[in-house]
Subunit: 205 residues, 2 copies
Amino acid sequence: MSKIIDETEAERHRAKMEKRKAVQDAEIAEKTVEKGLLIIHTGTGKGKSTAAFGLALRMLGRGRRVGVIQFIKGAWHSAERDALETFGDQVVWHTMGEGFTWDTQDLKRDVAAAERAWNKACELMADPTLALLILDELNIALRYDYLDLRAVISTLAARRPDLHVVITGRNAKPDLIAAADLVTDMTLVKHHFKAGVKAQPGIEF
Amino acid sequence: MSKIIDETEAERHRAKMEKRKAVQDAEIAEKTVEKGLLIIHTGTGKGKSTAAFGLALRMLGRGRRVGVIQFIKGAWHSAERDALETFGDQVVWHTMGEGFTWDTQDLKRDVAAAERAWNKACELMADPTLALLILDELNIALRYDYLDLRAVISTLAARRPDLHVVITGRNAKPDLIAAADLVTDMTLVKHHFKAGVKAQPGIEF
């Protein structure tokens, strides 16, 4: 399927890309701030926690340490945890949840688990060796008011300035979005569950 | 910030979650199909390639092999590649791109690079030891018509039935979306580049 390109087309492409490069270079030159980012992955689509673990991988590739706190998940086996164990003590992982709220069916237990997880998050935020902290499904704990939103936001705002934090989960609270540096909504366009395809190893878990 | 929960609230929560669990269980029971998914991560937000590498991590945690082809990127250092090298021959990585189109400014070279990358993709699709193949930024090559869309879609459709494929990049073509099982649009809600924050190691690269 080799493509035929004439010289006019090639030159038009070159001129367009030369302009585009000038715009890109100018944009990059404008950006001078370095800071730990507050990152939120929300939305109903797949990829919120997955992209957080992809960021973990990138940070590990830089030789830095990464912390993970799972606020909700906990009852089942996690292949990403197995994979991250390959990096030894570059990764600190705490599974603090007790499963989905519809599995526990116990509000007091859910609240207690969320509070324990948040206390552990505060502990890790104080660890100067960590470059990235993933608070997986914290949005779920905030959505159900298991934790006080204002206290969470003010603690995050007061963290050391070079720590990157990623918060995942559907229904991120508007005040948390307002406090964040980078927010991506993983928007569901099409999902195979609708077509009767089951959760498969390596993809969903 | 401990939360006070009265018994009525706790019981209401339990009843609601019991119903929700019944719905969830019924939904899971309906899903019986297992198949290799064609997955697309598109949109203007951050997280498309990152979530693909998160999926790679999950698959590696399952002890399976993963292939990566980078269609566009190539000119710069990739921390995720360094991290994945930890997994030895569980990962097959080919960087076939020559950088952004606005860096090469050479249409013929871009087309030739895309064709080489696609040939390599076809080669990896034929490798029965791979469970997941990531075609990073293939959408960009398709958007600029470096490759023939119909040929790409029919080759993907004819792949072996248990191979999961993830295609990343902005502006996924509608016909490719129609052919896919799972499509997520990483929608930009807020980006720190707008606030003058530069690309930082472990986050952007």
